[in-house]
């Protein structure tokens, strides 16, 4: 897809894809046909708009064209007497038909929320839910989703198709659940989006070292959902968190190599995103009481904000970061939070204190605890133990970029 800032088709696809999918699903309830029909409509637009000019209502044009495709397909099926299973919707939906004319805006937003909730339904595997959300809600192309999750394109295409079949087969409804369940389902949306975001920051190799622009699509998913539920604490806190992490993307790579936080050029951080995140953290809805997940995202965002606001690496307020990690561990003890706290303790009170805080921290399947221990032992001057810890980290590391870094560090011990 070309640049959405200059290409009107790219822009309407970027901005309206989810709403168009939602509207077509509400009308036709055919998850297996809607995406193809819309894809055909976009393809037709790419041929005719440059020739005939951009229509006055580009989204309406795509909608009409996609609807026509769908009707053609359904007529063909009718002739073949084939019955496809229909997507389940709530009964309320049918009564809303009359309302559609009177209040199209609200119904449209409601349909988009139905789509968001359907894609992140807890009956779907988390990665499948993430992929499906990016595809159906945001219109991210399948090859890009495959790159984001570091899997081959056919694998991702199959995963998305399976997820769609599962939705229809398991009777996952295209519906907004009642208020007692909605907050829980919004938490699923948040976790789905955060999974996609972190996938974009999992180091790859070669040109895919960082897929930060794709992680940006996950930010968009949070933003889109927050626009539908503007006071939802979990979404406010998550948007702040991902914006703060994402604000550093330009400084994370230099000459095709990963640049770690202390060495990043802070002038390249996106201050507008940092400012937006800080405003989000001041939102009254976060004063509480808020659910645990929202509180956890809030604390993680505050930790990220400490980094974002430090004028230089040396001026980082590690004492505050340690206290924030203490609060986070009080909410939800996790080995990775303990590991991160130990790093902060080492920066605040020295390598020996850090090693003490690291005592007993194990993250299953991760080389990171050993890598941190090696680094702290090296700083403490215990070269022999540091070398052994680097060997342990190197043996457990499965990522080329980080492996290279660990080998260099080990070598520099002499």
């Amino acid at each position: 897809m070309s640049d959405p800032t200059t290409d009107p088709l790219a822009r309407v696809v970027r901005e309206e894809w989810g709403r168009l999918v939602a509207l077509l699903l509400a009308q036709f309830r055919r998850l297996d046909l809607v995406e193809d029909a819309l894809g055909d409509a976009v393809e037709a637009a790419s041929r005719t708009w440059p020739r005939d000019g951009v229509p006055d209502n580009p989204a309406g044009w795509l909608m009409t064209t996609a609807r026509r495709r769908l009707l053609d397909r359904l007529r063909t099926e009718e002739v073949a007497r084939r019955k496809q299973p229909l997507l389940a919707t709530d009964a309320e939906r049918h009564q809303q038909g009359a309302r559609t004319m009177a209040d199209p805006g609200a119904v449209l937003e409601d349909d988009l929320l139905r789509l968001v909730l359907m894609c992140s339904h807890p009956a779907l595997a988390p990665e499948a839910a993430s992929a499906l959300s990016l595809r159906l809600v945001l219109g991210v192309a399948t090859p890009d989703i495959a790159r984001l999750f570091l899997v081959p394109e056919p694998t991702m295409a199959a995963r998305i198709t399976r997820a769609k079949k599962r939705i229809v087969g398991a009777g996952i409804p295209f519906a907004v659940p009642d208020a007692s369940v909605l907050p829980e389902r919004i938490e699923n949306v948040a976790q789905t989006a955060y999974l996609a975001f972190t996938a974009g920051y999992a180091p790859g190799s070669g040109p895919d070292l960082l897929r930060a622009e794709l992680a940006g699509e996950a930010v968009r998913l949070v933003r889109t959902t927050l626009a539908l539920c503007p006071d939802e604490p979990v979404l406010l806190a998550l948007l702040a968190l991902v914006l703060l992490q994402h604000s550093r993307r330009d400084a994370r790579v230099s000459d095709g190599r990963l640049v770690l936080l202390p060495d990043q050029d802070r002038r390249r951080w996106r201050t507008d995103e940092v400012d937006e995140a800080r405003r989000l953290l001041e939102h009254p809805a976060l004063a509480g009481p808020i659910p645990l997940l929202a509180a956890s995202y809030t604390l993680q965002a505050r930790i990220a904000a400490e980094h974002a606001l430090a004028p230089s690496s040396a001026e980082t307020r590690w004492d505050r970061i340690v206290r924030l990690y203490d609060a986070l561990l009080g909410l939800a003890p996790s080995p990775s939070a303990r590991l991160a706290r130990a790093v902060a303790v080492a920066e605040d009170r020295g390598a020996a204190a850090g090693l003490e805080a690291l005592e007993g921290v194990e993250v299953p399947g991760s080389h990171r605890p050993a890598a941190v221990r090696a680094e702290l032992l090296a700083r403490a001057g215990d070269t022999v133990a540091a070398r052994a810890a680097y060997d342990q980290a190197i043996a457990a590391c499965r990522n080329d970029v980080e492996l290279q870094h660990l080998r260099e560090r080990r070598q520099s011990l002499g």
Binding site: P289, I290, P291, A295, R302, R320, R323, L324, L331
Partner: protein
């Protein structure tokens, strides 16, 4: 005269799923406990069941000089305090005996004496 807090922790989810007959049995056991307390000269200052822990509000320092206010119990464990009694007693041995019988009838009990 000392004051005692009788905490009643229980697996909330399991309890809610039990049939009505079990709930009635629990109620009868509480009535019996009240009768034994009265007979032993112990006073119930106050007590009773608590709303489900999911309706609790927890507050703690947020690590930055403020407060973090969350939905739900302080720690997410299967067992939560579902009720309590605050008692006054001059005969701890007799009170303990009544609590033991109460527990033997199926109640989980944590007995705490208020420090002077």
């Amino acid at each position: 005269m000392s004051r005692y807090l009788v905490l009643l922790p229980a697996p909330e989810a399991e309890w809610a799923a039990l049939p009505a007959s079990e709930h009635e049995k629990g109620m009868r056991s509480h009535v019996q406990f009240h009768e034994e307390l009265a007979a032993g000269g112990h006073t119930i200052v106050t007590g009773g069941p608590l709303e489900p822990s999911e309706r609790a509000t927890s507050m703690r320092p947020d690590g930055a000089g403020g407060v973090l206010v969350t939905d739900g119990p302080f720690t997410e464990t299967g067992e939560q305090v579902v009720g309590f009694y605050l008692l006054e007693s001059e005969d701890e041995a007799d009170l303990r005996a009544a609590c033991r019988r109460f527990a033997a009838r199926g109640e989980h009990i944590e007995l705490r004496r208020m420090s002077e």
